[in-house]
Amino acid sequence: MPLLKLEAVEKSFAGVRALRPIQLELAAGEVLGLIGENGAGKSTLIKVLSGVLAPDAGVITWEGRPARFQTPHEALAAGIATIHQELACCGSLSVAENLLLGEPWPRRAWGGVAWGRLEAEAARQLAHFGLDIAPSRFFHELSAAQKQEVAIARALSRQARLLILDEPSASLSEPEVRRLFEHLERLRAAGVAILYVSHRLDEIVKLTDRVAVLRDGELVAVYPTREADVKRMVRDMVGRPLDQVYPHTRPARADSRSLELERVGRAGMFEEVSFAVHSGEIVGLAGLVGAGRSELARAIFGLYPVDRGQMRLFGRPWTPRDPRQALNAGLVYVPEERKRQGLVLEHSVGESISIGFSDLLARWGLIPAGAETARVQRALETFAIRATGPDQTVGTLSGGNQQKALLARWLDREPRVIVLDEPTRGVDVGAKAEIHALIDRLAGQGKAVLMVSSELPEVLGMSDRVLVMRGGSVSAELRGPAMTQENVILAASGLYTGEGGSPSSC
């Protein structure tokens, strides 16, 4: 009898299917790897299993009985422990208090907490798990690996029989990952089932018994790990051929360098990043979430300073202190989360656009209304923004039109370098094509475009070159025939060995 069984489990958000009917079994003592691209539905599946989300349909059978977990705590009490990427722990409390939060604490005869015995109990649990961490230490003082170990120890002290780990190695160094694996091996031997979610395929191969591949919310393949190789996993993850047609009207040219980075680094974000973007060129920046792409893009725009290395803009040293300086220098940035970082949703479309150039029109602090309206009108037409007029509230536009408004805001400044962060996230197919055409046209006008994108077809289809980031540095530069989805995924997992595997500073 399997420990856990999913039958036709599905989940939708606002009509979008995040999980198509899923069938999956997991036995005690088995390690199942769960892989898939960003947005394939891995997180949703974990949330359904751990009681964060309720499935729309289907049956989850846990230890032979149908289970419906309403809260994470119910799932935990039933024996399903989840270690999320973001650990939920109390930083200002001690390790012992974190381990035993919610459990009864040992008391003295007169009712006071027996701190000594509390810490002894915690030490016993830590030792049982082979951990050498003083229980009196503050949780926030621990290293990322120690925090994770404490979180795992806490989960297992509650007799968890299924341990779900979501990208546990994302913030760990190599020796720390090895230690984690040793722990997991011991748990497997003790009969604990493990669901291991990771982007790092090398880890999946090393650790798991079986692999389940999610793609677009669908469980496309489940097979024993030893029957599969990395190539097959990648193929299953990617699945779709590059069928969409991307515009490429601009002439191939190797003009002057617009933006150059030389061994640029910022502590904890990115290291040793070197590349150049030429005018008239689109350079894609691919990689996993958290690889440092957005951070790099924001540093180029001046949102935070760079610790090491040098940047150059049109041949001159570029050390922006704030975004204003970047705008004046002809560099614009379109942020990743347009709703949080890009737009004031309550503003009108006209205001949202004119905020980008009104300072150019202003005379003694006043903005001539006629000139502003004319410019906004022109932007609405140029960018084919479908709004009832400049007065419509921007929050009521579709995602694609919001994104176009955001682009329109800056492009009227005639920028020469454009940094885009996920330009088509959450945008429908039609608007996507329009935005792609727009980006292509901009490059055709000789602007240098750096595009961060997690969508592989987009980044491959649009770019002249693709840089892949992994763990804060550029792990590969792909060009020409090497620009394939497989290579991007391999490079993002640190497994790419092909031509040009080392970043060249072209």
């Binding site: 722990c89 109390c90 930083g91 200002s92 974190n98 919610g102 003295r108 009712g111 904890g268 924001r298």
Partner: protein
């Protein structure tokens, strides 16, 4: 107990102890002929008691990540009820009990509203700040014929807690509170809630109940603070009584190293913070600084300290958010 304080908090405590010693030395040096230092210390107890006691309660609420800025208005309601009962011929014990009970109940109501409406505590209690003071005026106007703005309590029998026992109440409650903090689990849960609500929920704890217990304890401390506050004055004036008291209390809490966003802090810091503010005011008095200026300096000190604390935390938060 000290081992459960972070190095940052221990440093803040040491800094406050040193600061208070410096201020006391300054007071001693500034004392005029005929004034004795022991008088200063004797007066200090009852003077500082309301701020310290209310501060202990506020510390617990801020531990959880909430705040209560309506405490001054709550004291005003309690004081008004107290005054009315005195005028109606209530016994001192009954009047004192009513004062404490009203304070506790209104604190509990704040907790219930924050939980029930799921509105941030600062908004709920901002409304309470004006609502309760208005409520006090309405009650006074209804209960007292020809109410002219203040309720006088001339009988010295009704001034025991404020004028006679204030210092002793303070010492006793303080000792109890510090011991309780050192050996009880509840304050640790408040800190846990302020540190990570998610972690509490995952551990099977009920965040709402933890929050409520903080408001409950705060109500008890505030009840005693209010009792001392109310029984120190000859006339209770609902419209003007305890104006700005909440700022002074929050100032003491934050000065004491408690994180205004919750999750970190200690009672001892609040006590030292309250003393620091009090001695600062005393130094200004003994130095003969213009009274108008004194208010301004005290206000500037509070704003300066809270502003600094927020700026430091905001910087950290901002960096986390951008990362």
């Amino acid at each position: 107990m000290l081992t459960r304080l972070s190095p940052y908090l221990r440093q803040r405590l040491a800094f406050l102890v040193a600061g208070n010693v410096v201020l006391l030395v300054a007071i001693a040096l500034l004392l005029k002929q005929g004034a004795s230092f022991s008088d200063v210390l004797e007066r200090c107890g009852p003077d500082v008691a309301p701020t310290v006691l209310a501060g202990l309660g506020m510390t617990g609420v801020i531990f959880t990540g909430a705040i209560d800025i309506s405490i001054a208005s709550i004291i005003v309601v309690a004081g008004t009820v107290f005054g009315i009962l005195v005028q109606r011929g209530g016994s001192p014990a009954a009047c004192y009990a009513a004062c404490v009970l009203v304070t506790w109940l209104l604190s509990m109501v704040n907790g219930w509203l924050v939980r029930g409406l799921r509105v941030p505590a600062i908004i709920i209690t901002l409304a309470g700040l004006t609502f309760y003071r208005g409520l006090a005026l309405v009650i006074a106007d209804m209960a007292i014929p020809s109410f002219t703005g203040n309720i006088s309590v001339p009988d010295e029998a009704f001034h025991g807690p404020g004028k006679v026992y204030g210092g002793w109440i303070l010492v006793a409650v303080l000792a109890g509170a510090l011991a309780w903090e050192a050996f009880a689990r509840v304050p640790r849960r408040w800190l846990a809630l302020g540190s990570s609500e998610e972690a509490c929920r995952l551990a099977g704890l009920n965040p709402g109940r933890i929050l409520q217990s903080a408001f409950c304890a705060s109500g008890l401390f505030l009840g005693l603070a209010g009792l001392i506050f109310v029984t120190r004055v000859q006339a209770i004036e609902p419209a003007r009584m305890a104006l700005g008291f909440e700022l002074q209390v929050i100032g003491a809490v934050v000065l004491g190293g408690t994180n205004i966003f919750g999750g970190e802090g200690c009672f001892a810091g609040t006590v030292l913070g309250a003393l620091f503010l009090y001695f600062t005011a005393q130094v200004l008095v003994y130095a003969g600084v213009n009274p108008y200026f004194q208010e301004a300096v005290t206000g500037a000190l509070i704003i300066g300290v809270i502003g600094l604390d927020c700026a430091l935390h905001r910087r950290r938060k901002l960096l986390e958010e951008l990362a």
